[in-house]
């Protein structure tokens, strides 16, 4: 069975990759990618059932925070049921989306702002080295350079230093990091394609 899954995975990966270079394989590539999208849709249902089983398990064991788990399961089942009965474009579903889900995500983003500020304040305690100082002073420089001041841009910082840091130093560094990530992605993908890494359950 493990050999079969490896053969299927390697063959599917090779055909999809081949589709980018050989026009004859383009149709097969599209077909396989469409199957992958359907499977990803089914995986969402499996993911939701996993979420429900984790939280019902917590409720049945009366673990710490099980009240939140109960709230999550009730909310999930109610939203899913109403969504299936009323359809996603119904006004009630829009109220649920606009009144609960979007504000909850927005409030998390608000918490994130405080978390980032707190992390910046604590940075020098955590990293009292040259890189920590450079990181913090660059962030401060860019903030001062971008801020709207009553008397216009701060001379030198807003007009010269900030554009130079963002367009030369930061852009160059970002490209270097992204090239490294791309090379890592390439070799990781090849390892999966050769069957050396099998994230689909084979030993």
């Amino acid at each position: 069975m493990r050999v079969l899954t490896a053969v299927i995975a390697i063959a599917a990966g090779s055909l999809i990759l081949g589709g980018y270079f050989l026009p004859a394989l383009a149709d097969v590539q599209t077909l396989l990618l469409n199957w992958a999208i359907i499977l990803a849709g089914v995986a969402v249902l499996v993911g939701i059932s996993n979420l429900i089983s984790v939280h019902t398990d917590k409720i049945s064991r009366r673990e710490k925070g099980s009240a939140y788990s109960a709230l999550l399961v009730i909310g999930l089942v109610a939203t899913l049921s109403f969504g299936m009965i009323l359809r996603p474009h119904h006004s009630t579903m829009k109220i649920v989306m606009n009144g609960i889900i979007i504000p909850a995500e927005a409030s998390l983003m608000g918490v994130l702002t405080i978390s980032l500020l707190y992390a910046a304040i604590r940075l020098l305690r955590r990293r009292a080295d040259l890189m920590g100082i450079i990181f913090l002073s660059t962030a401060a420089l860019l903030l001062f350079g971008s801020a709207t001041m009553p008397l216009g841009d701060i001379p030198l910082i807003g007009t010269l230093l900030r554009p130079w840091v963002t367009q030369i130093l930061a852009l160059g560094g970002a490209r270097g990091i992204l090239i490294g990530v791309a090379l890592g992605t390439l070799t990781t993908g090849l390892r999966v394609l050769f069957g050396a890494d099998r994230p689909y359950g084979g030993n």
Binding site: L17, Y20, F21, L33, A36, I37, L39, A40, A43, V44, L45, V46, G47, I48, N50, L51, S53, V54, D57, E63, K64, G65, Y68, L108, M109, V111, L112, S115, L116, Y118, A119, R126, R127, F135, A174, G176, I177, L178, I179, G180, V181, L183, G184, T185, L186, T187, T188, G189, L190, R191, V192, F194, A196, D197, R198, P199, Y200, G201, G202, N203
Partner: protein, 243 residues
């Protein structure tokens, strides 16, 4: 055409270097995050505490798939290494297909270690379907499940600050790596040991997984030198008016 050439060269190098029997072990530069991770794996087994491996919300169908696969490879190694612990690893993901592979990888890791009974399906969780939803779900794992270290490997953006803050509040060690530039900047600011850039893909080699992981590091180094030479030659050619 160029991408096909790069692909063929990379494949040939990876196969050749993996099959080539080294006489001496590969020399790897020290990365503090991996030294800490190595120590954390041993400590969690001794303490009888749990590790939380978080794979982020990367999709396998787009460019974040590479980091998701690297995270799965790391999860597999960690599951095997901590199979003699009293408390099995708990893993979380913010993408359902990744969640399925995560469960499969956990099971395979325990099977490889001969500890099939340790696999519990609910130890691999999909905690949310949006990045913030995922972070909100994963934050509670370190608080409620006797976790001694959060290991974040995958696709994370700014929401990773919420996970870092939760770890900090619970005094839980956090080691983080992301393929996203924003995520890397946030991890650098909020954790002791962040992995930057391609270091994310080096975990297997540093944790002595197998020859293919070390070989992939060598291939990355060779390709990086080729990119550097191409950039310098291109710059010189442009300067000289050749291109």
């Amino acid at each position: 055409m160029t991408s096909l050439v790069v692909l063929i060269i990379s494949s040939a190098l990876l196969l050749g270097i993996t099959l080539w029997k080294r006489k001496s072990p590969a020399m790897l530069r020290e990365i503090p995050a991996f030294t800490r991770l190595y120590r954390t794996l041993g400590l969690s087994v001794e303490d009888g505490t749990r590790l939380h491996v978080s794979l982020g919300s990367g999709s396998l169908l787009d460019t974040s798939g590479g980091s998701a696969l690297a995270g799965l490879a790391m999860l597999r190694i960690i599951a095997e290494r901590t199979s003699d612990s009293d408390k099995p690893v708990v893993a979380s993901a913010g993408n359902p297909p990744l969640g399925l592979l995560m469960q499969d990888t956990l099971q395979a890791g325990y099977q490889a270690a001969g500890a099939d009974e340790l696999y519990i399906p609910t130890m691999g969780r999909v905690t949310g379907l949006t990045p913030f939803g995922y972070a909100a779900g994963a934050m509670h794992i370190s608080k409620n499940e006797d976790v001694s270290a959060n290991i974040l490997v995958g696709h994370f953006s700014s929401e990773v600050a919420l996970l870092a803050e939760a770890s900090d509040r619970e005094n839980v060690i956090m080691i983080g790596a992301s393929d996203n530039l924003t995520g890397q900047a946030v991890l650098f600011a909020s954790t002791q040991d962040a992995l930057i850039g391609e270091e994310l893909f080096a975990a297997g080699a540093y944790l002595n997984a197998d020859d293919s992981h070390t070989a992939s590091l060598t291939v990355q180094d060779i390709l990086r030198w080729l990119v550097i030479v191409a950039l310098l030659v291109g710059a010189f050619a442009k300067f000289a008016g050749i291109i």
